[in-house]
Amino acid sequence: MKITEPHKEHIVAHHFANSKHEFDSARLGMWIFLVTEVLFFGALFVAYAFLRWSYPEIFVEAHHILSWKMGALNTAILIFSSFTMVMAIRSAQLNQRLKTSLYLITTMICAFGFLVVKFFEYSAKIHHGYLPAKYFVAHGASEYLHLFFGLYFTMTGLHGIHVLVGIGLIIWLLLRNRKGHFYSNYYTPLEMVGLYWHFVDLVWIFLFPLFYLVG
Amino acid sequence: MQNKTITESLIASNGWMPKAASTFAPNIDGLFNFILYGSILLFVGILIVTALFIIKYRKRPGYSPPSGPHITHNTFLELAWTVPPLILTIFIFYWGFTGFLDMAVAPKNSLDISVTGKKWMWQFEYKNGTKTLGEIVVPVNTPVSLIMSSEDVIHSFYVPNFRIKRDVIPNRYTKQWFEATRTGTFQIFCTEYCGDGHSQMLGVIRVVSADDYEKWLANAGSADDGLPPEKLGEKLYTSKGCVACHSVDGTNKIGPTWKGLFGKTRAYAGGSTVADENYIKESIENPTAKVVTGYQPVMPSFKGLLNDKEIAGVIAYIKTLK
């Protein structure tokens, strides 16, 4: 079984002086990447602000169409998954390879759960015709309700893609953990994916109130 | 050629700018000249100093640069080339800003004319309901305020002689006012890229005396009474914007050429027809009814924009193009 085999000793890349140098560089790099993601989503939040300022009524109306319960459920799922992600990193730091895998799997299940909830939400919207302009066939009081849904699908869709990518990254971590790559002296990829995952969680924590709660 | 200029030449003017024709021009031209000659002065200064340094300090036998630490700092120099340029740029900003404020707020008694841009022509409408296409007539020495909107994509209304320009946007109004300072015929350009006919989306602005303007307005813009039909048609070919899409020399552009058109059999999706007077009239008023195979249904309708006399003129003109 994997826990009894010794971990694979990590070899520091040749252009780094030592393991700490490598870890610090990776961490700085990941933080800068997250800054780019902040600007990426930030631009969409600016579009949201502009749309809200132009047509406040569509947000009031849409508030009643979206299910805040499903949104809240997803929020809880993601926050919990951030916690399990942190626990996965902690387990690696403590050389607990099995627990690392279990926490990673739990995180992944949460991510899948999030996407399942989103699937139900999207299906409901599509069924009722709340879609971007060309396909908008629902009955709305506001003339520009389709603008809201255009932005809703774009922002939550982009977020969903990030969740999907996160699942892919977690699978990669699981495969590497099985081979014994992560232990107390080396858990950099776990930490990096962890940072990414917290960011994905944070974006949702902004999306949820702005789309589901404010009305 | 299709670009026969009927407006005052932009090229032939004293100085860099086209000949001024509005109250905005002196301030703007003054600012331009200030920056231009200031820049030339500075540029020549930089040229001379650099050339001097390169010549004086070039590596050659017998020359060795002075020994000792290199000068890498000189507070006076650094302040001298930071602070004065900053003051200069702020001054230039202020000059431009005040000129711009003047252009932004139309005087209270301005004459309002509405402008509609659409691919690829300019339509004008006066308060008394007079509509013109491709040509706008205004009185001299009178503030005119243009209220503009587009029917499709973003265009931009530009009159170089007046130094005015403003984007013309769909679903919104933009405004630009001016006061012409002399009579004449001046060029209007569309200057926001809008597709195939962008460079043909031209217009003409005629500045006339106040009396002539009143006369013209009363006649609802029909100053072409004396022209024979084919001459009227030839004039309308340019002034109504047909030139944007139809050539008269045989080249097929966005629309078919008019050369040799009359009497030709035209094939379209539902069948075919001979290009006679009725066909041409229908194509002018309801252009998407019979779109000739090989062309796109992009021609806008001119119904209401050309009266019967004008349509007859266009037909007569087309007949002369064998």
């Binding site: 631009a43 749309l51 | 340029p85 060029q187």
Partner: protein, 533 residues
């Protein structure tokens, strides 16, 4: 690590195309970028030659109006996204940054290779767009024209989107490299100014490019499903697109110019054997430009219908950003004082940049002014202005950098005589093409025009002939550079007698750059303190 075997360098260390395609060596990656960038320049240049040929006279010559519109769109898109944004950072930057820092490689070599692959992938999308009904929107993609035209807009914008990620990853890599990979003794103020400029550029790349990404993504979604955010018919605002677009594209022009300014600092110090005047001012001005560049995008929108207040603020800030650039020019000239100047080919390009960029800068002062810009906006004056700063500026510096670091990258020298001849053709041709366009613009000639009033014909024709002169210059250059690779004189490790750290390595360098980790004692420009043997 491995001993430096005489004759072994990064080029011949491992052979075979697979070793290049899977390399993690920043130098090999830089050379591959250089090849693709040169090809892109040729492609963009071809589109320019074609469109200027059409403009020889007002009537139709070789293409229809729609095809002409596609030509200027492709010229702009290829030149901006495939050539100039990556140009100096991806080729020269990749090659030199680690060496100038005394490091073995960039912080993330695999990310570096990924950037290269993303570049090629994005370029493929753009090429696909070209052959499947090329976009005819202009490289600026203004809505609603771009959301409604029937040409291949989606593939072109997706291509640019992917290229954006290549740029972002390079930016992340460079920032971490500068922070974490410096050799012992290499303090911030001993960094070469080229490194400072790459750092400032990377900050812009990282912060601005994601916004372009989203803008293009929104345009794609708009075309696919019509979300309506930019479409006035659906309740959207087309001017919002312009704001989003220029929020990236203005800082983008500083991505283009800052590395060029970094090259200028290297050239002026090496070829006058002088310490740079005002090192800190030059270094900080790069950062200042990077920061202020984010605050001026609205100067592209003075007549767009944005509020008058916005117009005023943007004009004021635009004047502020001019000052650090002017300061750099004065610092470079002051560096020449009491120097020992050698007029070699790289230095000729320094001179070219100095004058051409200055002209571009002064005309920028004109355009920044609110009232004057009303007349000049969207005319040939703007076209001339940005070509003076982008081509007369960035491209000249890029060429200067290529000629300067050529012996280091390839271990071969090129023909100095041929280089001087090419330089004359390029200078003459460039000014023929673009100075004429200042005149056209002030006279009111609008841009993006397929045909024009007869009276503008002589000036247009002169500008077109200039493009042929320019082409001769570039052809000569291509010839002698290829010739140098095949038959060039072997260059020594330090043919220019420079004090830069990269010149202490072998030409071409070994794969690990340095046999032993260097310990930095002096700065790169301490010509008064250090005597080269």
């Amino acid at each position: 690590m491995s001993e430096s075997v005489p004759g072994t360098n990064y080029i011949n260390a491992v052979s075979g195309i697979k070793s290049w395609l899977t390399t993690l060596d920043h130098k090999r990656i830089g050379i591959m970028y250089l090849l693709f960038i040169a090809i892109s320049f040729g492609l963009g240049g071809f589109f320019a030659l074609a469109l200027r040929l059409e403009l020889l006279n007002p009537g139709q010559l070789i293409v229809s109006a729609k095809q002409y519109n596609q030509l200027f769109t492709l010229h702009g898109a290829v030149m901006v996204f495939l050539f100039i944004v990556p140009s100096i950072p991806a080729s020269l930057g990749n090659f030199l940054l680690p060496i100038q820092l005394g490091a073995k490689d960039v912080a993330f070599p695999r990310l570096n290779l990924a950037s290269l692959y993303l570049y090629v992938f994005g370029a493929a999308f753009c090429v696909y767009s070209m052959v499947s009904g090329a976009a005819d929107t202009g490289w600026t993609f203004y809505t609603p024209y771009s959301s409604t035209t029937d040409t291949s807009v989606i593939s072109m914008t997706l291509g640019a989107f992917i290229l954006g990620f290549s740029s972002i990853f390079t930016g992340i890599n460079f920032i971490v490299t500068v922070h974490k990979m410096r050799a012992p003794g290499m303090s911030w103020f001993k960094l070469p100014l080229f490194t400072w400029s790459l750092y400032a550029t990377a900050i812009i790349q990282v912060l601005a490019t994601p916004v372009l990404g989203i803008t293009l993504l929104l345009l794609v979604v708009e075309r696919l499903v019509g979300i309506g955010i930019f479409d006035p018919a659906l309740g959207g605002d087309p001017v919002l697109f312009q704001h989003f677009f220029w929020f990236y594209s203005h800082p983008a022009v500083y991505i283009m110019i800052l590395p060029a300014m970094g090259v200028m600092s290297e050239l002026v110090t090496t070829f006058s054997k002088k310490n740079i005047f005002g090192y800190k001012m030059v270094a900080f001005s790069s950062i200042a430009i990077a920061v202020i560049s984010f605050l001026v995008w609205g100067h592209h929108l003075y007549v767009s219908g944005q509020s008058d207040y916005a117009d005023m603020i943007f004009s004021f800030l635009t004047y502020l950003v001019a000052i650090p650039s002017a300061v750099k020019v004065f610092n470079w000239i002051a560096t020449l004082y009491n120097g020992e100047i050698e007029l070699k080919a790289p230095f000729l390009y320094f001179i070219a940049f100095l004058f051409l960029f200055t002209i571009g800068g002064f005309t920028g002062i004109m355009l920044a002014s609110l009232s004057l810009d009303v007349h000049l906006h969207d005319t040939y004056f703007v076209v001339a202005h940005f070509h003076y700063v982008m081509m007369g500026g960035t491209v000249m510096a890029f060429l200067g950098g290529i000629h300067y670091w050529w012996p280091k990258m390839f271990g071969k020298m090129y023909s100095e005589k041929a280089a001087v001849v090419a330089w004359f053709f390029i200078m003459a041709g460039f000014n023929m093409v673009f100075f004429t366009q200042f005149i056209l613009g002030t006279k009111g000639m609008p841009r993006r025009y397929y045909s024009y009033l007869d009276q503008f014909q002589p000036l247009h024709a002169f500008s077109t002939v200039g493009t042929w002169v320019l082409t001769v210059g570039f052809l000569i250059m291509a010839f002698y550079l290829v010739e140098s690779l095949l038959n060039g004189e072997p260059a020594g490790d330090n043919p220019w007698g420079s004090l830069g750290l990269e010149w202490t390595t072998q030409s071409p360098p070994i794969t690990e750059n340095f046999a032993d980790t260097p310990h930095i004692i002096h700065g790169p420009y301490d010509y008064d303190k250090v005597k080269l043997s």
